[in-house]
C-alpha cells in the first residue's frame, strides 16, 4: 500500500491533533474468526509467538488482524515498531466466553473456572497480547470496554501520545456489530461480525489526522452525547477510512467535545 493517505489539519483553537501514519481494517463473521485465529495475517519477516491467539478473545484476534494490515499500510518492516505502544478499546470484551464460563461455574463450581479467563478476557488483555505479538515495548493498556469505547479510545490515546515517550502508538478499536447473540437468547436474525480498526498514531501531522476539540468554556452538566450507538460509530469510522470520498468523521465526547478525523486528501508523503 503506498503511503498516500495524507491530509493535514490546521489546528483550531481548543483542538489538539495527532497524525495517523497507518490504517488497518478487519471484519469477520463468527464463522470466519477461527480462520483468522490460526492466521491473522502475513507480513514479510513476521513470526508470531506460537499459539498466541489460542485463548484470546475474538476481538483480540480481529484487532491483531487489523494491526497487521496497518503495519503493511505503514510501509515499514514489521520489526520497526519495537518501541511503539498499544491502546486497545474493545466493547464488551469476552462476553460470549463469559456466558460459557458462568454456565460452567454453575455446573462445576470452583474447579470449572478456567485460569485463562482473567488473563485473556480482562480489559487490559488485548493490548498486552498485541504488544507481545509484535514484540513492542512501549506502554500498553485497555480503554473503555463499554458503549463509548470509540470516543474513550481516541481520548486516552491522545493523552498517552502526549507523554511523548514512544515514537508511535497503535490505537485499536473493536466491537461486534451487531452484538453476538448466544443460544440462551435465541440467536439473532442478523449475522454478527467483529469489526476492527487499527490506527498508527505519530507526532507529525503527516498522514491522516485526528483531533480532539473542546467546546470553549463548556462546563455545567453537559448532556450525554446524542444517540449514536458506538457500533455504528465504529462502522462509520471504518467506512470513512475505507472510502476516499467521505467528508469526514466526527464522534461526540461526553464533556462538550468531539473527536474529529480530517477528510482524506490525495497527497503523497514526501520520501
Amino acid at each position: 500500500v503506498d503511503p498516500t493517505l495524507v491530509a493535514t489539519v490546521v489546528p483550531e483553537p481548543g483542538q489538539e491533533n495527532c497524525g495517523i501514519a497507518a490504517v488497518g481494517l478487519a471484519r469477520a463473521t463468527e464463522a470466519e474468526v477461527p480462520v483468522l485465529r490460526r492466521q491473522p495475517g502475513t507480513l514479510p519477516g513476521l513470526q508470531l509467538p506460537h499459539g498466541i491467539l489460542r485463548h484470546a478473545d475474538d476481538q483480540t484476534v480481529l484487532g491483531l488482524s487489523a494491526l497487521l494490515r496497518a503495519v503493511a499500510d505503514s510501509g515499514r518492516p514489521v520489526g520497526g515498531f519495537s518501541a511503539w505502544g498499544v491502546v486497545f478499546a474493545p466493547r464488551f470484551l469476552g462476553r460470549a466466553a463469559t456466558v460459557r464460563a458462568l454456565e460452567r461455574f454453575d455446573r462445576m463450581g470452583v474447579h470449572g473456572m478456567s485460569p485463562l479467563i482473567i488473563p485473556h478476557l480482562s480489559l487490559h488483555s488485548p493490548a498486552g497480547t498485541l504488544s507481545l505479538a509484535l514484540g513492542m515495548h512501549g506502554p500498553n493498556f485497555g480503554v473503555g470496554g463499554g458503549d463509548d469505547h470509540v470516543s474513550e479510545g481516541f481520548l486516552a490515546a491522545l493523552a498517552a501520545h502526549a507523554e511523548r515517550c514512544t515514537p508511535g502508538l497503535w490505537l485499536v478499536l473493536t466491537a461486534w456489530d451487531p452484538e453476538l447473540t448466544t443460544e440462551a437468547d435465541g440467536g439473532g436474525s442478523v449475522p454478527a461480525a467483529v469489526h476492527a480498526v487499527a490506527l498508527g498514531l505519530v507526532a507529525e501531522r503527516a498522514g491522516l489526522s485526528f483531533g480532539v476539540r473542546w467546546t470553549p468554556g463548556s462546563c455545567g452538566v453537559a448532556a450525554a452525547p446524542p444517540g449514536n450507538p458506538s457500533a455504528a460509530r465504529l462502522a462509520n469510522l471504518a467506512a470513512f477510512l475505507a472510502h476516499e470520498n467521505s467528508p469526514g468523521w466526527v464522534c461526540p465526547l461526553a464533556g462538550g467535545g468531539e473527536v474529529r478525523l480530517a477528510a482524506r486528501a490525495r497527497m503523497r508523503l514526501a520520501g
Binding site: L102, V110, I117, G128, A160, E179, D185
Partner: protein, 405 residues
C-alpha cells in the same frame, strides 16, 4: 508555588480493607495492621485460597439516601463513595458545577464482575449488554453531575498509575480544570477468586490470614486478593494555591513500558521494567540519589518479588543500599486494578506523616530480594520524593513519582 503549571493532588477519597479515608488508612498502614481475613461474604470452602482483604459495606455518601445507595451495584458504590469523598476533601464538591471535572478510572475486569454479580441476582445482563449497565466511569459521571469526560483505563494491576498519568495530562493540557483519577476494584467474587486460585497465583496460607501476604519473605507463596479503591483530585498547582487548597503532593513523573514476553508471567529480562522506572525518574527530573522511598509492586509471589528486586538493583545502582523500600500489599492484600492507586495513597501518607509504612510479615528476608527493606514496623524519615512501582498482567510496567508540593 515553584511551577504554577505543575499538577497537584488536592483531594483523596479512599475505601480500603484498612479503613475509609486518608486518616484511617494512614493510621492502620503506619501501625502495620493487616486487613486480611477469612472470606465470609460468600462460600469459599471449595476455593484453594479462602482468605482476602475484603471491603465492608460502605456508608451512603452525603447527598444519597441509604436506600438509593444500597440499590447500586457494589462497584458503583465504591466509585461513587471515593469520588464524592475526594471532591469533598479537595473543597470542590459543592462547587463542582463551576469547573470542568473529568474522571479517569482504573478498572480491570469490570464486565466479568458485573455480569457475574448480575447473574447471581438472577439478571440476564450478559445476554443483553446494550440494555444493561453503562460503564462504571460513565455511570459515575452521570451520578456525580460532573461536566468533563470520563474514561475507563486498564493495565491490570498497573491500572491506577495509568489513570493518574492520564489525569495529569488531561489537567496539563487544559482538557479539564479538575480531574478525578485513580482505581477501584471489586473483583473479589467467587469466580474471580477461583480464576486467580486456579491460576496458582494465590497464597494457600489459609490458617493464618494476617501472615499470608509476605512480600520479599522467603516463606511467600502467592498473593492475597484485596478489594477497594482510591480516587485523587488533580488540578493545576497555580489554581490550587490561589484557592488555598491542601497539596498532598505534586505528580512529577511517570514511566511505562511493556515486557512483550508473556501474558501472565513477568519477564526474566529486567530491562523493560527498568526502562519504565528510569523513564519516570527522568520525567520527574530526579536521580536515584534523590529518592526517599519506593513503594514496591511486590505482590508476595515467588517469581514477581525476586524480579522486582532485580529491577530496583539495576535502576538504583549503589543507591539500592540506601533507598528504603516497602510493600504495603503485606497489609492491604492485592487490590488488583486498584492496587496502584492504593499504593499512591501509601506514598502520600509517607509524605504527609514523614514516616515509611512497613512490609509486615517480612520475618525471613529472601536473599534474592535483598533491598533496604522497611521491615515489620514503620520508620520515621525525611520524605520529599517517592516512587511507586506497579506491574501488571499483559506485561505492563509502570512507575509513578510524587514529590512534596
Amino acid at each position: 508555588v515553584r511551577d504554577p503549571e505543575a499538577v497537584w493532588v488536592t483531594g483523596v477519597g479512599a475505601a480500603t480493607p484498612l479503613g475509609l479515608g486518608f486518616e484511617a488508612v494512614a493510621e492502620a498502614l503506619l501501625a502495620g495492621r493487616s486487613g486480611v481475613r477469612r472470606v465470609t461474604h460468600f462460600d469459599a470452602v471449595a476455593q484453594p485460597c479462602k482468605i482476602a482483604a475484603s471491603l465492608g459495606p460502605l456508608p451512603a455518601p452525603p447527598g444519597w439516601s441509604d436506600d438509593d445507595f444500597a440499590g447500586l451495584g457494589t462497584a458503583d458504590q465504591l466509585v461513587l463513595w471515593c469520588a464524592v469523598a475526594a471532591l469533598r476533601d479537595a473543597g470542590w464538591w459543592e462547587r463542582r458545577g463551576e469547573v470542568r471535572v473529568g474522571l479517569v478510572l482504573g478498572s480491570g475486569a469490570e464486565w466479568l464482575t458485573c455480569w457475574e454479580r448480575d447473574r447471581q441476582r438472577g439478571g440476564r445482563c450478559v445476554y443483553f449488554p446494550l440494555a444493561g449497565h453503562p460503564t462504571l466511569s460513565s455511570a459515575a459521571r452521570e451520578r456525580l453531575k460532573i461536566s468533563g469526560p470520563a474514561v475507563t483505563v486498564a493495565a491490570a494491576c498497573a491500572s491506577g498509575n495509568v489513570a493518574l498519568a492520564q489525569g495529569r495530562r488531561w489537567v496539563q493540557r487544559g482538557w479539564v480544570d479538575v480531574c478525578l483519577a485513580g482505581g477501584c476494584d471489586r473483583s473479589l467474587t467467587p469466580m474471580g477468586m477461583a480464576g486467580f486460585g486456579n491460576l496458582g497465583a494465590l497464597s494457600k496460607r489459609n490458617d493464618d490470614p494476617p501472615a499470608a501476604s509476605r512480600p520479599f519473605d522467603r516463606g511467600r507463596d502467592g498473593f492475597v486478593m484485596g478489594e477497594g479503591g482510591a480516587l485523587f483530585v488533580l488540578e493545576r498547582a497555580g489554581a490550587a494555591a490561589r484557592r488555598g487548597a491542601r497539596a498532598y503532593a505534586e505528580v512529577v513523573g511517570y514511566g511505562a513500558s511493556s515486557d512483550a514476553s508473556h501474558v501472565v508471567i513477568p519477564s526474566a529480562d529486567p530491562d523493560p521494567a527498568a526502562a519504565a522506572v528510569r523513564r519516570a525518574l527522568a520525567d520527574a527530573g530526579v536521580n536515584p540519589g534523590e529518592i526517599d522511598y519506593i513503594n514496591a509492586h511486590a505482590t508476595s509471589t515467588p517469581v514477581g518479588d525476586r524480579f522486582e528486586a532485580g529491577i530496583l538493583r539495576e535502576v538504583l545502582g549503589e543507591e539500592v543500599r540506601r533507598v528504603p523500600v516497602s510493600a504495603t500489599k503485606s497489609m492491604t492484600g492485592h487490590l488488583l486494578s486498584a492496587a496502584a492507586a492504593m499504593e499512591a495513597l501509601a506514598c502520600l501518607i509517607a509524605l504527609d506523616r514523614q514516616a515509611l509504612p512497613p512490609t509486615i510479615n517480612l520475618d525471613d528476608p529472601d536473599p534474592e530480594c535483598e533491598l533496604r527493606h522497611v521491615a515489620r514496623q514503620a520508620e520515621p524519615a525525611h520524605v520529599r520524593v517517592v516512587a511507586s512501582n506497579s506491574f501488571g498482567f499483559g506485561g505492563s510496567n509502570t512507575c509513578l513519582v510524587l514529590r512534596a508540593a
